[in-house]
Amino acid sequence: MTETLPMAGAPANVNLAGLSKNDYRGAPTTLCQGCGHNSISNQIVTALYEMNIVPENVVKFSGIGCSSKSPTYFLNRSFGFNSLHGRMPSIATGALFGDQRLKGIGVSGDGDSASIGMGQFKHIMRRNVNMVYIVENNGVYGLTKGQFSATAEKGLSLKKQGENPYMPIDICMEALVSNATFVARSFAGNPKQVKELLKAALSHDGIALLDIISPCVTFNNQVNAYHSYAWGKDHEEPLHEISYIAPRNEIMLENEMAEGEVREVAMHDGSYVILKNLEKGYDTSSRIEAMRVMEEAQRNAWMLTGLLYLDTSKPNLTSIYNLVDTPLNRLTEADLRPAPETIDRVNALMF
């Protein structure tokens, strides 16, 4: 039990909360080297550190899958609940009633949210639960060794799976039609944008959906429809056996993208993803506009990144319930058990 103790000696750099970056870190990751998820965990640490948010004011949530393991790898000092496959939303919804001052950070995956958990995903959006909902989206099931997820493109082919015959689900579109109040998409290889969007999401009072394309270095290594073309790659020759995970470097953008810029980014397998930044002057308050640009991006096979939609006018879930100022989990018997004389009133009603 020494793991969460503060680091020995005075840290060199502390933020306004008096905490060092180490106070925001978690256990060492057990995900594959080069996995985009690790980069996202690092940005969560940085964003919270830079925003001077005390870890005790944050609760972590996840479901099941590679992405859902990651809450162990950041914010050791925060409470966390690694729940069931596809069921993170309901756990988070209930837990955040415990203390309405807490901010939730949930990490889910495309399998966890868009397949088994689609029902709960949509309902947590419409309930506007006060949390950042990150989907680490790689189009593939990693822990079960490489099956298609619901966000995988039609025509994508994966080892042992053949070709995906189904149209994909767009997580941002689903969030938007479910009346989410903050919808954004980013790319794990664009850490600066991930961090900025995380900060925006953490500042949002309500549900903040962040769909982060996070390439799977191990299983989703074939050309797919998100990728515009394959380049210099021999499909017939497997890069590695399924049981052997080749160490790779994480994909990072070389320099920042300008507003409206379209850029091709090489993937682990040599294929490309086309990123498009939202245009300057894009109106984040318009649902119609958000729908239009997403539809346009789909037709052009662009991964549209940035803040797609923001509505700050809706109350978050616990506010709707008009709760007492004291956190519910600090209330005592005196607050919770009706007075003895009320029992007679109750019995008088029983007829």
Binding site: N82, S83, S90, A95, L102, V324, L336, M350
Partner: protein
């Protein structure tokens, strides 16, 4: 003709959705207010409007108010069930029917009374045309009132209560009742033996359904979070919470100390409730069989991650969708072993509406003490029907919030604590809640393998240690769950063991077995799983134990056979489930069919149970000390004695 006083049944056959419940409840409440023990059971279809539905009322001067098959008085308001209703009347009974039903009367062994329901209601200028069908039901209340002697004052107070003192609907309905009385006075001649006479047996009693009682109990237990999803027959439990929470937990600042969230399905309902329970709230959900099936994975998580939560299962009959509006005790084994992998549940088994209230608040204490899901198994009969009860009692113990560490505790421990460390040797660890500001208070809860500090591990040794501790915790639970209730008879030679809503039927059967068959029985009503030491003692005491339950396979018997293999040869399973509430008839006949006269039993027992001597030597402990003198059935079964029981 010999009068039959305060001992008969009334069955009303109507069309579902025709608004007869106000009329039926009025009859029920009026009889109750006359001081006569009474029960009302709604035998309804899974339908909103159109299908036949029945409401049965049983008045019984001796306090036997279980479901009774014999139909003494039948009121037929539904042409579609007319023939069936007519055929169902017991010989010598009475048959009232709406005379617009033009079907022939084929019986001459019963009293038959046609009622001009439509004519009477059309002639009442105060009833608007679109209210005629609804209020028309009050005609049969009036006709019946005159014929059997229902007190008009009591009918008025029933309507006054039902319409919450709103004068207009009270008057409209009461005037139609009076019109029914007037018509009957002039036109009908009494040809049946059934009469009501005032008694004093319900004085100080209340009438409630189990779902409302459970909701109220939960409120007095300080419920803070409810995640739920509508399902018959559990819906009215959550709706009662919505009704009563604003009244009973009202604050001057108008703010709330609770939240009730209707979830998108049962998975989310329990998921939210577990989230809230984990975060330190008194949290619950309510459902029925199909919902519980959906909740299974989450129940396993709560067991393994040790999250307190209360889960009400108002049982209906399965498998699958089954008969959604019929009662059952069919979820017991499922609940006891719910979830994949090794798991055992803590289950409370209320036997009446009083206990629905009591277990409503106690369930939270037990869940937070043991840090595990606590299931409360009610059923449709108890949950949705009106039962006489002694008044609900204010909780007699302060809230037990279990083992919780706050900031100062963590500081004192210098952060040296582990969520799943068994410091006290009872298998129960200490927990902290999100929102605790101490930097060393947090942990990450998981459904995956974990060590004593909640860290992920797949180590075999750690896994086993954890599972052994959970087993120990289950043993600890025995000290916190309610002990069984014993209805003893002096000189009893066999035991009856049962649970839940069958109590009323079994008490009546116990009386009949003694009176008509000379068979004296001790009846132990188990109120929780795991079994407490009182159950051990009871099972050791008899060489014939009848385990009575409302299901096909004898689920309590299955559990007891596993837990007490040494007594298994003595178990005689009386299990029956057709969706109808338990009746004395099936209990009595079921027991008699399996009962073996003493001599034969001894021989069999000697052969099959050689280990018998040992348990017999154990001291038999009664759950509740049986009264020294012979307990007459009246005293055991009567509502007044019920009041004394606890």
């Amino acid at each position: 003709m010999n009068k039959v006083i305060n001992d008969f049944s009334i069955t009303v056959g109507t069309v579902n959705g025709s608004g007869s419940s106000t009329a039926n409840n009025t009859i029920l409440r009026a009889i109750f207010k006359m001081g006569i023990p009474v029960s009302g059971k709604n035998l309804f279809p899974s339908n909103i409007q159109g299908l036949p539905t029945w409401y049965t009322i049983r008045a019984n001067k001796d306090g036997f108010i279980a479901h009774h098959e014999k139909r003494d008085i039948v009121i037929a308001m539904n042409p579609n069930s007319f023939a069936r209703d007519l055929a169902s009347v017991a010989s010598g009974g009475a048959f009232f029917y709406a005379d617009d039903i033009k079907l022939s009367i084929t019986r001459d062994d019963i009293a038959v009374y046609p009622m001009p329901v439509k004519t009477i209601i059309r002639n009442d200028p105060n009833v608007p045309a679109d209210f005629r069908d609804l209020v028309g039901n009050m005609v049969y209340v009036g006709v019946l009132a005159h014929m059997i002697g229902l007190d008009m004052e009591k009918i008025y107070s029933a309507l006054d209560f039902h319409f919450k003192k709103k004068q207009k609907p009270i008057d409209m309905n009461f005037n139609v009742v009076k019109a029914g009385v007037e018509w009957a006075k002039i036109n009908l001649e009494k040809k049946d033996p059934f009469h009501l006479e005032p008694m004093d047996k319900t004085e100080g009693m209340i009438m409630a359904d189990g779902n409302m009682a459970g909701a109220l109990g939960s409120i007095f237990g300080g419920v803070q979070f409810v995640g739920w999803y509508p399902i018959t027959p559990a819906t009215s439990l959550a709706e009662s919470l919505n009704d009563y929470l604003p009244q009973l937990r009202k604050r001057e600042d108008g703010k709330h100390t609770y939240a009730v969230v209707q979830a998108e399905d049962e998975l989310a309902a329990l998921g939210m409730s577990i989230g809230a329970g984990w975060a330190g709230l008194r949290s619950m959900t309510s459902t029925s069989g199909p919902g519980l099936s959906l909740m299974t994975e989450f129940a396993g998580l709560a067991y393994y991650a040790e999250v307190p939560v209360v889960i009400w299962d108002v049982q209906r009959i399965g498998p699958s969708t089954g008969l959604p509006t019929r009662t059952s005790q069919g979820d017991l084994t499922f609940t006891y072993f719910i979830g994949h992998g090794d798991s055992q549940s803590v289950i409370l088994l209320p036997g009446d509406v009083y206990e629905c209230f009591e277990f409503g608040w106690k369930a939270f204490d037990i869940a937070e003490r043991i840090q595990t899901p606590v299931f409360v198994l009610s059923d449709l009969d108890m949950g949705m029907n009106q039962w006489i009860s002694k008044p609900f009692q204010y909780p007699d113990t302060p809230m037990d919030r279990g083992k919780v560490l706050v900031e100062s505790d963590i500081e004192e421990l210098k952060g040296n604590w582990g969520r799943y460390l068994d410091k006290d040797g009872d298998g129960i660890g200490y927990r902290t809640f999100p929102g605790n500001k101490h930097p060393l208070s947090s942990y990450l809860t998981r459904g995956t393998g974990h060590d004593e500090y909640a860290k992920y591990t797949e180590e075999a040794e750690m896994y086993l240690k954890n599972m052994d501790r959970l087993k120990k915790k289950h043993e600890t639970a025995k000290h916190y769950v309610p002990a069984p209730v014993l209805h003893g008879m002096k000189g009893a030679t066999v035991g009856i063991l049962a649970y839940g809503s069958t109590e009323a039927a079994i008490l009546e059967a116990q009386h009949q077995l003694e009176k008509e068959h000379g068979l004296k029985t001790d009846f132990l009503r188990v109120r929780a799983l795991p079994c407490t030491k009182e159950v051990d003692a009871f099972l050791a005491k008899y060489d014939q134990i009848f385990i009575v339950e409302m299901n096909r396979d004898g689920q309590m018997a299955q559990i007891l056979m596993t837990e007490y293999p040494q007594y298994a040869p003595n178990f005689k399973v009386v299990a029956y489930g057709d969706g109808m509430p338990a009746s004395a008839k099936w209990v009595r006949e079921g027991i008699l069919a399996k009962y073996k006269a003493k001599k034969i039993v001894k021989k069999v027992a000697a052969k099959t149970a050689p280990a018998k001597k040992k348990p017999a030597a154990r001291k038999a402990v009664s759950a509740k000390k049986p009264s020294a003198k012979k307990v007459t059935t009246k005293a055991v079964a009567g509502p007044k004695s019920k009041m004394k029981r606890k």
